[in-house]
Amino acid sequence: MSDVKKFMYVNRKAPYGTIYAWESLEVVLIGAAFEQDVALAFVDDGVYQIVKGQDTSELGIKNFSPTYSALGDYDINKIYVEKESLEARGLTVDDLLHLTWEDENEDWAEKDSIQVVSSEELKKILDESDVLLNF
């Protein structure tokens, strides 16, 4: 397709408590079939969506966090996490899921998908996006 656009999904809310995070991920997965240039950003409580070791067994709600690990298989490998949001919550990149993708141009070398960026850097990234979906 000639008109490939830069899709940016901004995830701002905690994974449970509301359905926004899960239904956002559903859009990302369906959208992956459209061969667009896709990126995800996690800001505010949205950073909790990709914290590792989630256990929802006592909530009675499906723990959908393992699904994020599949994003690399959908060629989604630009995952930006806002530094300030992590810091405000006492989190570091080590608290997050280890999301990776395989680079076919480098003999399928495994690479990190997550990039921690400052609010200032994220502003530029959002600015360069064509389609911005907020969840």
Partner: protein, 130 residues
């Protein structure tokens, strides 16, 4: 300009749908095209004809139906979100063995691909939500 609209909240708890309605009217008046309005999350609740607000309140569902009819706008309710929240058209009624349907005039139920397509086809995708 060709515009795509996404609405993430129901008709009355949040003002998002009402604001989107006003936005669409203003955009049409200014000569822009509304390619599609896509209802997601609780936004699917904008698409039930059973909505009956008090007479002195605005009827947001009917307003969408009227706007769509007058301007030939495609109102799409997300199927996955609709199934969770009990928004049903004739096709869904049959598929899921329900005893009725409640889709409002001018709305149709379809997949998330319709939202992605709006993002691809439109000059701007404008999201209204919380």
């Amino acid at each position: 300009m060709k515009l795509g609209i996404q609405i993430n909240e129901g008709p009355y708890t949040h003002e998002a749908s009402n604001t989107a309605l006003n936005f669409c009217k203003a955009a049409l008046e200014a000569g822009h095209e509304i390619f599609r309005v896509f209802f997601y999350h609780d936004g699917v609740n904008n698409g039930t004809r059973y909505t009956t607000p008090p007479q002195d309140d605005r009827h947001i569902v009917n307003s969408w139906s009227e706007l769509a009819k007058e301007n030939n706008i495609d109102l799409v309710v997300c199927v996955a979100a609709a199934q969770r929240r009990g928004i049903v058209d004739e096709g869904e009624q049959e598929r899921n063995g329900k005893d009725g349907n409640n889709i409002a005039e001018g709305f149709r139920i379809s997949g998330l691909g319709q939202l992605i397509e709006a993002g691809i086809q439109c000059d701007r995708l404008v999201v209204f939500g919380d």
